[in-house]
């Protein structure tokens, strides 16, 4: 009876949500988003099905037979790694992902623990089925074969992983209750993994051929052959067997093969299910905390500000001493720098280290082609990072009005005109971007000397100085655009827990992104024109470098005027902004 009630709840929640989204299409902003989102989906996923596209990407050739085994082994090894991580990484107690209303209604209700787990597993199936569909559609671009087999293969793998994650979280909670700390457990698990890897290495050292020479042609084929041999001899095939069983349905070529491969997976799913329902671990308390976090994350993600979802765990130091006297906009700048500082954590530095390591490995790899000249790599990496930061920086760094719009009612009580609020809000991300870009410019200018084809110092200096002059204003201009979207179309910025979602929302985001690029390019046109005039003038009098620097100054002045006008206009919009009509205050 209770299972029926839970099914009723799940079914009607899904149906009502769908109905609400259909009714919402009567509003032009959702209809526009739905059309753009639908077109994007159609062109990305579905156009190939109808055969309308004649490009080679539309043929979706299956993997060649010699690659099939390699891909399966790789998938099994990857799955094994993920499972090891699932045992090593978690640091919190077992928690089931319930929504806040589910906790409020179901936890005090006379429902057994097993039914709650069953409900959670049933609920997770919706997400698994949807993810399987999406992964199948994405995978057909680089895979091939029967789509239904691929989809069911994804479903089987994800279902096993979902159950395993739950079971392992219960087991880890039991270990915690027995006094085994997170770090002790991590050391034990990673120690065991390293010991196993060392044992396998010693075992196979003599039986394996030498590591292939990757400098030659067919390096990838040689490498895949070597990995195939590595995983095919000694104890590794036995270690990989359970994981290979789980991924096998995905790689089945025919329905008959699929059904044969599915049987062991169903057995694994059943064993996992028994493990989960018979684990005597209390999950209720942790689930309540987890649901709150999920709700916050959802709200922040729908607001387009995932960073805000991570509630700060410890206070950040003030970036500078903020005195009570002075321009009040500086207070907002100071506040937003503190906010940004929350994310410069150990994890952030580890990620940077990881990027540097990957860059270094890429540099040494034979596929770089250039022979791995470090200066060339750094020069181009700095240049690329700079270009990416110009377009993506304002989207990534959101410590501005987009972050503070949910507390716009608080900002509106401040004795500050709107333009000061807008200026104070955009300063922090602008300064961070400028700092990063100036650093990249310095790195690029310095590395240019050691490249295979060195750029003369005077040219590097001219370009660097010119870029350093205009970049602050380009960044400010770039940041004003998404802040303007947030003020003009707050509903599209999806604020609060009741914010809309779905592919029409994705369409709206695409419209905004497209608009951002158009406005940025149009906004840069006058400055670009002025710069070109100066550069041509300088070239005409045989002082092109001077012309470039002077052009940068002139362009900076034009951009500064545009930014000033933009801040004033946005300030007026903020002054008139009616929070009651837009925000859930």
């Amino acid at each position: 009876m209770i299972a029926g009630a839970l099914f009723y709840y799940q079914f009607h929640s899904w149906r009502n949500r769908l109905w609400m989204r259909i009714r919402r299409l009567r509003q032009p902003k959702y209809l526009a988003g739905a059309i753009v989102g639908g077109l994007y989906f159609y062109f990305y996923f579905f156009r190939g099905f109808s055969g309308a596209r004649a490009s080679p990407r539309g043929t979706h050739m299956p993997l060649p037979p010699e690659m099939q085994g390699f891909a399966e082994t790789l998938a099994a090894a990857l799955f094994m790694m993920i499972v090891i991580m699932a045992w090593a990484l978690p640091h919190s107690r077992a928690a089931l992902a319930f929504s806040e209303p589910e906790i409020a209604f179901l936890f005090p209700a006379p429902i057994s623990r097993k039914t709650l787990i069953d409900f959670k597993l049933l609920k997770s199936q919706t997400a698994i089925l949807f993810s399987s569909l999406i992964m199948t559609l994405i995978g057909r671009r680089w895979g091939g074969g029967h789509l239904l087999i691929r989809a069911l293969g994804w479903w089987a793998g994800m279902s096993v992983f979902n159950l395993h994650l739950l079971g392992s979280s219960f087991a880890l909670t039991m270990l915690m209750d027995r006094g085994i700390s997170t770090w002790k457990r991590r050391v034990l698990i990673l120690g065991a993994v390293l010991a196993a890897a060392a044992a396998i290495f010693i075992w196979e050292r003599h039986s394996l051929p030498p590591f292939p020479d990757l400098e030659n042609q067919n390096a990838f084929a040689r490498l895949s052959q070597y990995i195939g041999q590595l995983f095919g001899s000694g104890p590794l095939p036995y270690l990989l067997l359970p994981f290979r069983l789980v991924v096998a349905p995905y790689f089945a070529a025919t329905y008959q093969q699929f059904l044969i491969a599915l049987l062991p997976v169903l057995a694994i799913i059943w064993l996992h299910y028994m493990w989960v329902v018979h684990s005597n671990v209390a999950f209720e308390e942790a689930s309540i905390e987890f649901s709150r976090k999920i709700a916050d994350r959802l709200a922040a993600a729908r607001a387009g500000n995932l960073h805000a979802a991570r509630r700060p765990k410890k206070a950040s130091r003030s970036p500078f001493i903020l005195r009570p006297e002075g321009h009040p906009a500086v207070a907002l700048f100071w506040k937003n720098l503190i906010s940004a500082g929350q994310f410069v954590s150990a994890r952030f530095w580890l990620m940077l280290l990881w990027i540097a390591m990957v860059g270094g490995i890429m540099l040494r790899s034979p596929w770089m082609g250039s022979g791995g000249n470090l200066s060339t790599f750094v020069f181009f990496a700095a240049g690329m990072a700079l270009a990416v930061s110009l377009f993506s920086g304002p989207q990534i760094l959101r410590n501005d009005l987009r972050q503070d719009l949910p507390v716009a009612d608080v900002l509106k009580t401040f004795p500050m005109p709107g333009w000061q609020i807008v200026l104070g809000e955009v300063l922090a991300p602008a300064v961070m971007l400028i700092g990063l870009q100036w650093l990249l410019l310095l790195v690029g200018m310095f590395q240019g000397e050691f490249m295979k084809f060195p750029v003369p110092l005077e040219w590097r200096l001219s370009v660097g100085i010119s870029a350093a002059i205009v970049l602050p204003f380009i960044n400010l201009f770039g940041l004003l655009i998404p802040n303007a979207w947030a003020l003009f179309f707050p509903a599209w910025f999806h604020l609060g827990k009741d914010a809309p979602r779905g592919f029409e929302t994705m369409g709206q985001q695409l419209i905004l992104m497209f608009g951002q690029v158009i406005v940025l390019l149009v906004g840069l046109l006058p400055a670009g024109g002025v710069f070109t005039l100066f550069l041509l003038g300088g070239t005409f009098v045989h002082w092109p470098m001077l012309g470039m620097v002077m052009g940068a100054f002139a362009a900076a002045i034009v951009l500064a005027i545009e930014v000033g006008i933009g801040i004033k206009l946005l300030g007026n919009v903020f002054d008139r902004f009616d929070v009651s009509g837009e925000l859930p205050v």
Partner: protein, 261 residues
Amino acid sequence: MDIAPPRIIDLPAVPPTIEVAGLTKLYGDFTAVNDLSFSVRPGEVIGLVGPNGAGKTTTLRCLAGIIPPTRGAVQICGFDIVRQPIEAKRRLAFFSDEPRLFDYLTVYQHLVFIARIYSVANFEETGLRLLEELEIADKRDKLPVELSRGMKQKLAIACGLLHAPSVIFFDEPLTGLDPIGIRRMKDSILKRAQAGAAILISSHLLHLLEEVCSHVLILKDGRKIIGGSLAEVRERFSEQSGGGNLEDAFFRATGETTGEK
């Protein structure tokens, strides 16, 4: 020690600190506040009461300059909230029912931030005194996420009072406070009123309003039903049916029933 409710002194010479004339707020076809006029003098505490949807919060938000009024004028210490918002906002503080704080600023950093916004020169002394008074001085390096709801409320109050506002708006100030917190909040309100602040409180807790308010304004469907001193309002409705307290007056004024016969 309890502080006595503000006395009602008839001082027509003292100009009102808050002056509202014909305030109207429309949301499309819906009228949230309809032609509301009243004034509050220094030291007066006005209770804004009414059933759900009466327009209390909208009124407070309009007065605080958070949302623009559709029609009418609001003057704070002689400054028009629409035409001279900076000067008007320098003199007011608004406390919403849910404390609105910045997640990533500590208690002390909130004070530093607000001090710069309002140019409070001696903020350290005033701020620490406020933290002591509100009993959160030991939490100065904590983030809001580490505070209980009551403590967050106290931090919001410390931030709001840092610049010694002449006008204070409270929207359901007692939500989430424990009995000690309620007592301290009542004392704090009365203390600010005695210091000359004009205070407007929106609340459903009529017994609280009876304890702290000198005047009361009853709203229904965005309109003023009655306004005046507590005694006047009670007297007006006791004449009709002999009732004695604000609760009875409220039910009679708004035409609501308690379900009792």
